[in-house]
Amino acid sequence: MQRILIVDDAATVRMYYRSTLAALDVGVEEAVNGVEALEKLLQAPFDLYIVDVNMPKLDGYGFLHELRSLDVPQVPVLMVSTEAQSGDQAKAFAAGANVYLCKPVKPEQLLLHVRFLLGGVRP
């Protein structure tokens, strides 16, 4: 089974993504910031990361930079931000994100991108 890591410091947001992803046949785990995300993925890497930009300790960009420099499977990253500035979007892609979404994310939007990035997950 494919596994997704949700990285966001807000518990409600993690719960929201989790309940949306329940429509898919995937495993879901959570981390509150980039440091915890790295610790978890080093134990067992994931197939997809959904990562918030603004987090304490290590933010989305910092996490992405670390991930892309680690010797682990380089899988898709879906970055989520509160701001829609085009400058940020370019920065996210340059840092190695595959998709950049703005909060608040709609369930169908999340599912569409996750399905695509995971390559045809069964609904």
């Binding site: 409600t12 929201y16 930009v53 509160t82």
Partner: protein, 207 residues
């Protein structure tokens, strides 16, 4: 070769010299080429409240994360109005890491931040307002719930309201129920708002 006993740990002469340095020496060391020197300077400046301005200035240009962290610990310890103002400045930085680090430091200074909270919650920049709501998480102040309710009642920006919602689930009382319902009416097309408001209402109701 084996387990050997370390010689008695004495402060090395070098340390004594370092410790006796003046604020001026330490502030100069904040710009040293070597990161360890900058860290020690930032740490030792915790004894010198007059160094706040220099610490804030260095924070804004310091690229080495370990040095930034020590500067922030020191600024948190000094925690005066000037330090707070410096941290608020950092909330507006282009540097995402610095913004988030400054936010964390401010969360450690709830009493000192309280007087400017109202202003921050009304800031023109929605990102700053989101940070302000975030700071409320650690603030022990009788107005916290009222401020959160004010945000969800009036803030135009959906993400500022969403951040407030998260906290209301944890600290909200019956007073928040009406405003929570009103919020769901204000953003009927936003599933996240519906989800989070419903969660918060459930928490308040059962609590």
């Amino acid at each position: 070769m084996a387990l050997i006993k370390a010689p008695q740990s004495q402060p090395v002469n070098e340390d004594e010299r370092r410790h006796a340095r003046t604020a001026r020496d330490l502030m100069a060391d904040l710009a040293a080429a070597d990161a360890a020197t900058r860290r020690w300077a930032a740490r030792d400046l915790a004894a010198f409240p007059e160094a706040v301005a220099v610490l804030v200035a260095r924070l804004k240009v310091e690229a080495e994360v370990s040095v930034r962290e020590v500067i922030l610990t020191t600024l948190t310890r000094l925690g005066d109005d000037l330090a707070i103002a410096g941290l608020v400045d950092c909330l507006r930085s282009e540097d995402a890491a610095l913004r988030n680090e400054a936010l964390e430091a401010m969360k450690q200074l709830p009493e000192e931040v309280a007087p400017i909270m109202r202003g921050l919650l009304r800031d023109g920049d929605p990102d700053v307002r989101i940070f302000a709501v975030n700071i409320l998480e650690s603030l022990r102040h009788p107005e916290v719930e009222a401020w959160l309710i004010d945000v969800i009642a009036h803030d135009a920006h959906v993400n500022v309201c969403a951040t407030a919602l998260d906290l209301l689930g944890e600290v909200g009382t019956e007073a928040a129920e009406g405003p929570l319902r009103a919020l769901t009416a204000r953003f009927p097309g936003e599933p996240y708002i519906q989800f989070a408001a419903s969660l918060a209402l459930g928490r308040i109701h059962e609590g």
